[in-house]
Symmetry: C2
Subunit: 414 residues, 2 copies
């Protein structure tokens, strides 16, 4: 009798018909003899409406964030979406003669700390869930929410219900955590761009983590990190089909390792080049310190060796939404930094090749550079880690670059 | 520095504009130096939508009630409406630089017992509210909800937010409890029927209780009972105008007592006559016992003395929604009861004259009977208490009877 956690996202519980379909899946897991804990998101669109109301009530001040009072009220309001769907699903299950009950974050409780609206789970008390599971009762948990030390509701931010599901699976020692969503698994790349993209049967945590960070939207980075840390066997699958999904597992559980597992792209990038930066010790710190203070996350960084030893060009990338803040910070420091010019460029895309196999195989990067050269695509910035290579190119080459790489690494479906 | 409780109903918080208007009133009370606790209902329409979802999820089984599991989920889902408005109002107040925070039923907590979806408040812990009020922070409490001994959310049923407000006013020893609604006070009768109806400046608890029971919709009976029991000074007033409202107070606080304070009518009545009922001891018990078992509430009862000592006619009234159940019960017992015939009549209206002054004045009832006689209206059943006289007449006379009585008791506006 295995313990499983099933998580259903917003499109999977978008209305009563879909909630009944969710109940079908839960029912079939119960009939298969599993002890089932279900985590639900809010109905699709509901969270946006609630956020919009809070934004209006707070005169738009919720993005600025960090105002504790607004944030506490934000969490109290926005967490109601999951409260509604958890109660409704429990009712539907009861109506079929399946023992079930809902749990809110504060009822278990799910303890959190840190900033409201993007809190972290510190612990989950599972006693009540375990005794419910032992009594063959389905435990329906409202995702995305917990309670802080002051007894106020805290929400977990983007991907929050996935995090709830993975944290519960870890706390319960579940045999599997199934993430039901609106796609049927993890693909070698975005099927909208590459029709020959293949669904992966298995992928390692490390690869999934890179995929999530680098633009694949199917799982949020935080939930993958959590699953990796606690060795939770994750499965991503569709709530709208019966096809098997993608298992996210430890590297040891992979029978044979592909060289490259996937190609991702992210258009949410902007490039900034500082021309003629004085080439002296401490200059990088004096540039990136103020950016960090302004909460601008810098991603790729390239600094060339200067020819004359006096001045160099420095290029970095930030998220598109941060470009104005980055420019403002750097212009206000122009005199201190002493650079010649600031050249922003929002028309770039980051393309990444990911695979744990490249650790033990040379030539993966070389093939990427060669394909780009053949297609006449200029590489602006390169950044590598153990299991991925990312390049920045002009945005207009997105489709061409992704399709060419997908074919070159033998990822195309037959 | 007085402590006041302000309660705003669903139409008063129906959208963001109205919530801002509510904030205006709260702000002005704060600027007047009051310590303010606010109780809010859900946005108008939201509770109905939530109830509809639960009804669908529970295959329509929520009216049958008494199924604990459905009821717990019902409460968890339906209580989210007040959770949303309490958070939004707190945000709006904070945006104006007024210290404010929201409280949910389980956070104070508001303790309840009894059936879910119609629970009773047993105690409210006020320590946290009091320390907030002492720090000049507005306390925004989600109405309609509490928590049971098992830690599950419980809702209070119809009029629930009024009950929360009055219970909080009692627990805090508040100087006043203002119930803001969509009418500007308690009227001598329904202004839609009698354009000359007058708004009352003051009314006693006893009268308000009769008015609420007998058809005036402005306050729910349970909240008036609670106010009377704890001597809470209630004020009913409009959130859409600045006119003073109606104070509901102890009889001692009335400077001069009107003979009659109001005329009410209720069309939600149905009459049942049992013809030729055997006139023997125990017959009333054998009729009304089975009705009580079937949860049919019987209101007015008339039994005539029989002429021959063998059989009599017995008439009683029930709510319109209970008439079919009442008929079914009595027909199933026809042989035991031995009555001749059962004659139902749904086309009746109960008209009541209410006033604590009638305790010390004879002739109030006599005037009612006389007016009915003058207008040619046949009185079918009469029922009296210390401070009201109710009669049952054919429904078609509703307007005529109410208007004639309103004039006869000098209630018409100048």
């Amino acid at each position: 009798m295995s313990v499983i956690v099933q998580k259903f996202g917003g499109t999977s519980v978008a209305d009563m018909d879909r909630i009944r379909s969710v109940a079908d899946r839960v029912e079939s897991a119960v009939k298969d003899g599993h002890k089932v804990t279900v985590v639900v998101s809010a109905m699709a669109g509901v969270t946006n409406q609630l956020v919009e109301w809070v934004r209006e009530a707070a005169n738009g001040n919720i993005d600025a964030g960090h105002d504790c009072e607004y944030d506490c009220e934000y969490d109290s309001v926005v967490s109601t979406g999951e409260q509604v769907t958890s109660g409704l699903l429990a009712c539907v299950l009861q109506g079929r003669g399946i023992k079930a009950r809902s749990w809110l974050g504060w009822q278990l409780p799910v303890h959190t700390e840190g900033l409201h609206s993007r809190a972290r789970i510190t612990a989950i008390e599972t006693e009540k869930l375990v005794s419910g599971l032992d009594a063959c009762e389905v435990q329906v948990v409202a995702g995305f929410q917990g309670i802080d030390d002051d007894g106020r509701i805290a929400t977990l931010g983007r991907g929050g219900s996935d995090i709830t599901a993975v944290a519960l699976a870890a706390a319960l020692g579940a045999d599997r955590c199934d993430i039901f969503t609106d796609v049927d698994g993890v693909y070698t790349t975005d099927p909208r761009i590459v029709p020959k993209a293949r669904k992966l049967d298995k992928i390692t945590y490390e690869e999934m983590l890179e995929m999530a960070s680098l633009g694949a939207k199917v799982l949020h980075t935080r939930s993958v990190e959590l699953a990796m840390k606690h060795n939770v066997c994750l499965q991503v699958l569709s709530s709208f089909s019966d096809a098997p999904g993608t298992l996210v597992v430890d590297e040891e559980d992979m029978l044979e390792q592909e060289l490259v597992s996937g190609i991702t792209y992210s258009r949410d990038e902007a490039k900034v080049t500082l021309v003629q930066v004085p080439d002296r010790p401490g200059v990088a710190a004096s540039i990136f310190g103020p950016l960090a203070d302004a909460e601008v996350n810098v991603d790729m960084i390239v600094q060339n060796v200067s020819e004359d030893g006096n001045a160099t060009d420095l290029t970095f990338t930030v998220a598109q939404g941060d470009i104005d803040a980055a420019i403002a910070v750097l212009e206000s420091k122009k005199d201190d930094l002493g650079y010649g010019a600031l050249v922003p460029d929002p028309n770039v895309v980051k393309i990444s090749v990911i695979g744990v196999g490249m650790r033990s195989h040379a030539g993966v990067a070389q093939k990427m550079f060669q394909i780009m050269a053949e297609k006449g695509i200029n590489i602006q910035v390169i950044s590598t880690s153990e299991i991925k290579i990312s390049i920045l190119v002009a945005e207009e080459y997105t489709e061409l670059a992704v399709r060419s790489l997908h074919t070159a690494y033998n990822l195309d479906q037959d």
